[in-house]
Symmetry: C2
Subunit: 231 residues, 2 copies
């Protein structure tokens, strides 16, 4: 479902030039659960944002569900994102003047969903991350880990088939972290494809495959025992 060929990403600005991705190629099949790991600054978030159509590569090809992303216009990319992709940002990107409820409901806005259906879906996903009791709060009235869980809820509310999560447990204690991972594993067993960037080796083990990045390149791919068991 995700086919990346020889992707390069350069950031060019005044006084700076960073070659964040230096020729990355990988394929992710429908239903896989892939972890992306590597040291701080090695290109994980950059890769994920290209996968999620948040950003474009400087060179190379990216096909998603057989659609070549090269030719896509801005509104076409937005449509694919809205319909198929759930994205959890490393820095959450919640909207401060909206309540938790409205933040999580945002991905459903462009769809023709009834008010009752929106309420049902938002409340379901909020209770899955233990945040239903805070639906009327603003993001700046929440703790760091609570904001992280709202960002996760928002990514999942539209039942996306491709879920991209950038460091979903960095601000969570192990009980909440385990709860988030169990939720992702359940969605994966229900058919969603998951790509998770993480620094936590306890959780990268939950994936069936681990892709290790270093200095903008893939240096190793490891199949976990989970995938070797033919699970």
């Amino acid at each position: 479902v995700v086919e990346i060929k020889n992707i390069h990403k350069h950031y060019d600005g005044q006084q700076i030039e960073t070659h964040a991705l230096q020729g990355v190629s990988l394929t992710i099949n429908q239903g896989e659960f892939v972890a992306i790991t590597g040291p701080s600054g090695c290109g994980k978030s950059t890769l994920l944002s290209i996968m999620g159509l948040m950003d474009t590569a400087s060179e190379g090809d990216y096909k998603i569900s057989n659609i070549d992303t090269h030719g896509l216009k801005v509104d076409q990319r937005t449509q694919i994102r809205n319909q198929h992709i759930g994205y959890v940002f490393q820095s959450f990107n919640l909207i401060d003047h909206l309540t938790v409820f409205d933040n999580v409901a945002l991905p459903l806005e462009h769809r023709k969903t009834s008010k009752e259906e929106i309420k049902k879906r938002v409340e379901k996903v909020l209770s899955q991350v233990d945040m239903l009791h805070r639906k009327s709060y603003r993001p700046n009235q929440l703790s760091g880990g609570q904001q992280q869980r709202i960002a996760i809820a928002r990514a999942l509310v539209g039942s996306p088939d491709l879920i991209l999560v950038d460091e979903p447990t960095g601000n969570l204690d192990s009980k909440n972290g385990d709860q988030v991972m169990a939720l992702l594993e359940k969605l994966n067993s229900d058919g969603a494809t998951i790509v998770m960037v993480t620094h936590d080796s306890r959780y990268s083990r939950c994936a069936s495959r681990q892709i290790q990045l270093l200095d903008g390149k893939i240096v190793a791919q490891i199949n976990s025992e989970k995938s070797l068991q033919g699970v």
Copy 2:
């Protein structure tokens, strides 16, 4: 050096009322390395921000270095912070329109420090977190873990005697995380008092004492083997 008696913190806003700290009392002596742990939302950041004079308690007493914080005016609190406290925020709070160098130099601005001395201190602390090569970047040109390391560098540049760190390794791989912890341990052995909020049990173990919070109260205090060995 830190004496907290029966601290309560209420947040009151439209539609919401949170009793974030419900009677917390603790003492931290000069030179200690204390970890604060507990589930997401239990009050850790709130407690740390009161300790760091970023926020005030709703009830209760807080003395820092024998100074009663009750009577302090805003500029007096600011002066104590600038002279004695280094603070790492959970969400970094870097300034987007300043370079990395100027962000880290900020705590030195109010002091009568020469330009050469500022350059020397900023570059020293930047190399201690492996970020010297990025001193001309803006924060939004950095990865999440790189931003975290800049926030840490800024907290340490003024050689504070009280270092308060809120989740310093949440966005870091283990090598960078270990490097940050080694730096904190070195500063502690040089005499700094450190209070660290963390979800990472590998790192809470580096502290000589662990304070466990739950629902705004202290539920346990554990002395690590480190302190039992009289280290």
